[in-house]
């Protein structure tokens, strides 16, 4: 192993932060959907992939990365609304595992459809010219695009926080995830809230996809590994807790990144070791509420 300098370590920490941000975007969507609707959305990875592919399509069509960055997540969110309304809603009241199974089947369909439309070869998504190149952070050169990803995620998280804390709809969502029966008893149409939450959650997944595309490439299987990691983040952070999703996402991103530096063979498994440890010590995850989804 080469000499471990502070610079290398710092670079690694930054890398972990970028990885963490993608996981946070995915985990928040999963956690919102799970916390409010107790739906395990197995198609979340495919929605991430859809975001990347739609991003590719839009850039080809409009020549603008910035436009695609805004529109692709919205399109994925719209798709998410349709999924909730027509596929998930009918399952309400039935076994808690039905949405899991449905979304699993949906992800098979989505991956295959994408391959039919866009072919078996992966696609290249390039960051815009303005974001190409590296920035001198003092201790190392770091790709500008990755700093951008961190920045965008922070902006989105702040917006989400404001939405949930400061708006009436946000209040209903928060109340609904804590006590859905009560909220319904108070006369709110939970169905519309669910629709909104599903839309937001899936849009976030789509955003994560288009952000990740230029870093990792766009290919039909890109959602397959990341969905498990996202689930782990949600469970570690605590189902239904957004703060938990953020903390756990960043933590796990750092764990993976730093393990890669010190013991690369174990990087993959560390995610599960962390999850097992957290669950054995704190049963509902770091910030979860006991009783939610037991």
């Amino acid at each position: 192993m080469a000499e471990l300098t502070l610079a290398t370590l710092a670079a690694q920490v930054f890398t972990g932060l970028v990885l963490g941000m993608i996981l946070v975007l995915l985990a928040i969507g999963l956690s919102l959907i799970f916390g409010l609707m107790t739906v395990v959305n197995f198609a979340h990875g495919s929605l991430y992939m859809l975001g990347a592919y739609l991003g590719f399509f839009l850039i080809g069509y409009t020549k603008s990365f910035w436009l695609a960055l805004v529109v692709a997540p919205l399109l994925v969110g719209a798709f998410g609304l349709a999924v909730e309304r027509f596929l998930v809603r009918p399952l309400y009241g039935r076994s808690i595992d039905d949405p899991l199974l449905l979304t699993f089947g949906l992800s098979l369909v989505m991956v295959e459809t994408v391959r039919l439309i866009w072919g078996k070869i992966g696609l290249t998504l390039d960051p815009p010219r303005e974001l190409a190149g590296a920035v001198n952070l003092g201790f190392t050169y770091f790709p500008l695009y990755r700093l951008f990803v961190i920045g965008v995620t922070i902006v989105v998280l702040v917006a989400l926080f404001l939405f949930l804390e400061k708006t009436n709809v946000g209040l209903i969502i928060r109340a609904g995830s804590r006590d859905p029966l009560m909220v319904k008893a108070l006369g709110f149409d939970l169905g519309r809230v669910w629709l909104l939450v599903f839309g937001i959650g899936t849009a976030l997944a789509g955003l994560a996809g288009i952000l990740a595309g230029p870093m990792r490439g766009v290919y039909a299987e890109m959602g397959v590994t990341i969905i498990i990691e996202s689930f782990v983040v949600v469970v570690v952070g605590g189902m239904g807790s957004l703060v938990g999703a953020i903390v756990a996402g960043i933590a796990i991103g750092e764990v993976v990144s730093l393990t890669t530096l010190f013991a690369p063979k174990f990087a993959e498994i560390m995610v599960f070791v962390v999850m097992a440890l957290v669950l054995l010590v704190r049963p509902s995850g770091l910030f979860g509420e006991a009783g939610l989804m037991e």
Partner: protein, 405 residues
Amino acid sequence: MNRRAFLATTAAGAAVAAFPTVLKAQGGDTIKIGFPGPTTGPFGALAKDQQQGAIVAMEEINATGGVLGKKVEILFRDDQLKPAVGAQRTKELIENEKCEFIVGGLAAHVQMAINEQTKKAGKLFISVSQSDEITARPDWGPLTFHEALNPTITSRAVGTWVAQNLGKKWWILYADYAWGKQNNAVLSEVLKRQGGVLLGSTPYPLGNPEFSAHLPKILAAKPEVLITMTPGADNIAFLKQAISFGMKKEMKIAQPLHWLPQLKEGGPDLYADIYAGISFSWQLEEAIPEAKNYVALYRKKHNEPPGDYGAYAYSAIHEVARGVALAKVVNSDAVASALIANPVYNHYKGKQWWRTCDHKAFQDLWIVKGRERSKMKGDWDFVDIVQKVAASEELDRSCKEKGFV
């Protein structure tokens, strides 16, 4: 990507969807060859190339009446890149479809699963992708043949050339699974023999293309050459990340193989100046008459030039036909003996031969370099052919090393 290329990709996708999977030649009495490959999954494009190459061979053979008066029929199956599925598909091809011969396999571990089944059933199997183990004991069987290159040959050829031409201070980055580890081991040994220095060797989990964790470390060590084993989508991700960290300017980058679908996907912006070995590239049509024939037939049938995996399949199907013609009977044992008794052949790139002890096909390979966009003569002209590495049994392990007396 411009609009034309974008639409072309979409059209290509639609064309791929319309591509028929089951091909049956007309007539009843045929020679059936089973062909499992990972048509679904991340290496679908390479599997497609294999299928297309096989079809070109089949049509070429059937155009002159087939073999022993029978037409050749190829039955393609999807092995999903999983050994268990590959094994099951092989069972199906043998038990249900009554195939006498199996050609196929893309992933090393799936090849070996297929091989276990063909060994059990006593059927000839010609494997068409990289694997070191399949021609060695204990995996090898008397009916096992290996048409493609293997990590030992590839890495010895590429490693030797790189050490002699690009530099002797290396860093190796490799996917932590069999293929990556094998190449890493061979390259390290080659470097030592060439008197070079290995500054570092880093494994990463296959399919997790998050390399920014490693790149600062590698940059700091200042190697002359970075050699990577990053297959499939990892390759694209790696090159993007390496370029964004400015690595192309600091060192030479090489890898054991380039794959045509990846070259197409990444384009010259990623692949320019990246060195690699390759079993076959369509540009060889200019220098080799058999290549010219194959490339022309493939282009005519499929509207695009062939990659190296398609060529392996093309050659393997022709070898089955040649074996049947020599043996004068559609029987695996007889065909295997016939091929070993007449081991020399040349279907698309020059003289090849089967080694008697392990049924390994020895063949030429080439060192290539990615071309810059401005120097490309056409859409598919991704590589510059730098040097030929002639076929040699020295490049592979000896019969003894593989466990044969």
